[in-house]
């Protein structure tokens, strides 16, 4: 069950759209639900669907289409690294190798302590600051080096 606070946030999103367009708030509602629950279970999607008056399958379609939704349980922190061409030219593939080794996981895997999930992302629109990491969908970490990654991982573990 989503909290009262989550519903208040969804209501604020609904205010942006004209009457009869509740489905327009589905992306925001799913993001709010994911922030609260860590991932989007079938039950959570059903709850969002009921609230917005949408078929559950339509909500699932959205959740599975956009890459930032977690449709399976994820670690406490999700780290996404961009390895597109501009990032690769700035050494992102080496950064990715460093991260994999440091965390002991490959892409789409979660560390055994449940702390971190590693994801391969695509263009984040910040190529000038490559190599880039996105932490928990909201925090962009720019011009990452081994040292900065060490510090970041330590900070997130706390």
């Amino acid at each position: 069950m989503l909290s009262e606070k989550a519903y208040q946030k969804i209501d604020r999103e609904l205010e942006k759209f004209p009457a009869g367009s509740k489905a327009s708030a589905v992306m925001a509602a799913l993001a709010i639900a994911q922030d609260e629950q860590g991932w989007l279970s079938a039950e959570t999607m059903q709850e969002v669907a009921d609230y917005l008056g949408m078929p559950a399958v339509a909500v699932q379609e959205v959740a599975s289409f956009y890459s930032m939704y977690n449709t399976s349980p994820a670690g406490k922190h999700k780290i996404t690294i961009c390895t597109g061409l501009p990032c690769a030219l700035a050494g992102a593939e080496k950064t990715a190798e460093y991260l994999k080794e440091k965390l002991g996981v490959d892409y789409n895997q979660t560390t055994t302590d449940g702390q971190f999930t590693l994801k391969q992302g695509e263009c984040m629109g910040a190529c000038g600051d490559a190599p880039l990491l996105l932490v928990d969908n909201k925090r962009m970490c720019c011009r990452m080096t081994g040292e900065k990654i060490d510090a970041l991982v330590e900070e997130l573990k706390k």
């Binding site: 942006k16 004209p18 367009s21 509740k22 489905a23 327009s24 708030a25 589905v26 992306m27 925001a28 799913l30 993001a31 917005l52 949408m54 339509a58 379609e61 959205v62 289409f65 956009y66 890459s67 930032m68 939704y69 390895t83 597109g84 061409l85 501009p86 690769a88 030219l89 700035a90 992302g121 695509e122 263009c123 984040m124 629109g125 910040a126 190529c127 000038g128 600051d129 490559a130 996105l134 969908n137 909201k138 925090r139 962009m140």
Partner: protein, 429 residues
């Protein structure tokens, strides 16, 4: 900090920014909202604003380069129902990162641009669709919008003029395809981002089936200065048929990757110099001049080319979004294409079979060539798959995936042949 280096030439959108003066008071101190106030005070005829934009030769900065004034004139003027204006801030074309800097360092220029556009087009509701991965930028833009609302610059009866415009932010959640106008509309309607058939175009059938204008961040951010200086003066900043300035996002093997705003028609060599030249003094090998979807151009050709739509078209490529990806002599073109092909395979929305299946084929073939497992017929196969995607899809993503493949093979075929014959890379050994 990719635009706060002072290394621009006659900047319009980036003029006077220091990173701290993004708020309303900073924007007003730079002359912000003067144009909007004048328009509302003088009750300028909306058609006159559209004429100024036409005269400016401003072309859409999102990638298509379609004349903005002409696009605005497609909106039905006498339509009595609800019309919408959308700022497309779903920037995710690899190599392009200008909209992020505009939104975080000059958000009010985008808001004023939207207000002027809304006034000219008769729309009372607007949305700004922001790329999913830049949450901090989204939050800042929301803050700027709130400042504007509290200052009566948006909402009902703006500055007592009787003009209404409600502006709302919309946060994407990770889909390259939503930068395509109609996929963006589908996304805003709460669906997966599958592009629509065109026609009808959004100007007649857009958001919720209503007339809708969708413009890029940089396009809208240019509007206040353009109207202030007049269309002709703005056009004169650039060159014939290519009005104004353009922000180029320079990435790859340069000393100082970043955003550089220069007049249209500036030589590529001058732009490269602004970006600090080649990293580690290496030689230039190739340039992808307009975001990852445009044809690659050999470095020596690019060094003789100017940065405007027509000059870049003459050397067989496109100015696109202005994302300039520079590769030096040490780069393997097979490996570089592999990164691009993976991107399109990953981002294909799956609606059209040629793109959904073809982008996977392209990626897998390039991957095996890169791994030294390429087969003798693979280059022909790449050509064939690419040509079967091109022109056979609803939106441009298919062409965007095929174009790099064909241009890499055109200019750097020998590297692909070497990889297949020697079963390894000869460039990086």
């Amino acid at each position: 900090m990719t635009c706060l280096h002072g290394r621009h030439i006659d900047p319009v959108v980036f003029a006077g920014l220091d990173g701290a003066n993004w708020r309303l008071d900073g924007y007003v101190a730079r002359g912000g909202y003067e144009t909007l106030r004048r328009i509302l005070n003088e009750k300028t005829e909306p058609g006159k604003i559209i004429e100024e934009v036409k005269a400016s030769m401003l072309r859409g900065r999102g990638g298509a380069g379609f004349p903005t004034g002409l696009k605005w004139s497609f909106m039905p003027h006498r339509f009595q129902g609800q019309k919408y204006l959308i700022c497309n801030a779903d920037e995710s074309e690899p190599g392009t990162f200008k909209d992020r800097d505009i939104l975080r360092y000059n958000p009010h220029a985008v808001i004023e641009g939207m207000l002027i556009a809304a006034y000219a087009l008769g729309t009372s509701i607007g949305y700004c669709y922001v790329h999913g991965e830049i949450w901090d930028v989204y939050e800042r833009f929301c803050e700027a919008m709130e400042e504007a609302r509290l200052a009566c610059l948006t909402g009902k009866n703006i500055l007592g003029s009787g003009f209404d415009f409600d502006l709302h932010p919309f946060h994407g959640y990770g889909a390259y395809i939503c930068g395509e106008e109609t996929a963006l509309l589908e996304s805003m309607e709460g669906k997966k981002g599958w592009p629509r058939y065109k026609p009808p175009f959004p100007a007649s059938f857009g958001l919720y089936g209503q007339p809708t204008m969708i413009n890029n961040v940089e396009t809208l951010a240019s509007i206040p200065s353009l109207i202030k200086m007049g269309g002709k003066a703005y056009a004169a900043l650039g060159r014939e048929n290519n009005g104004g300035t353009k922000i180029f996002s320079v990435s790859g093997d340069v000393a100082m990757p970043g955003n550089y705003e220069v007049p249209m028609g500036t030589p590529f060599a001058a732009l490269l110099e602004l970006a600090g030249g080649m990293r580690d003094g290496k030689k230039i090998k190739a340039v992808i001049p307009g975001g990852s979807s445009v044809p690659v151009v050999p470095g020596d050709v690019m060094m003789q080319t100017n940065m405007d739509y027509d000059s870049i078209a003459k050397v067989g490529s496109m100015l696109g979004s202005g994302g300039v990806i520079v590769l030096d002599e040490s780069r393997c073109m097979v490996k570089s294409l592999l990164r691009l092909s993976y991107f399109y395979h990953d981002e294909s929305c799956g609606q059209c079979t040629p793109c959904r299946e073809g982008t996977g084929w392209l990626w897998r073939i390039v991957r095996r060539i890169d791994a030294g497992e390429g087969l003798p017929g693979d280059i022909d196969l790449l050509d064939s798959v690419a040509s079967n995607i091109s022109g056979n899809t609803i939106c441009g993503l298919g062409d965007a995936a095929a174009t790099p493949v064909r241009s890499f093979l055109k200019h750097f075929r020998h590297e692909f042949v070497d990889h297949i014959e020697h079963k390894r890379c000869l460039v990086q050994t």
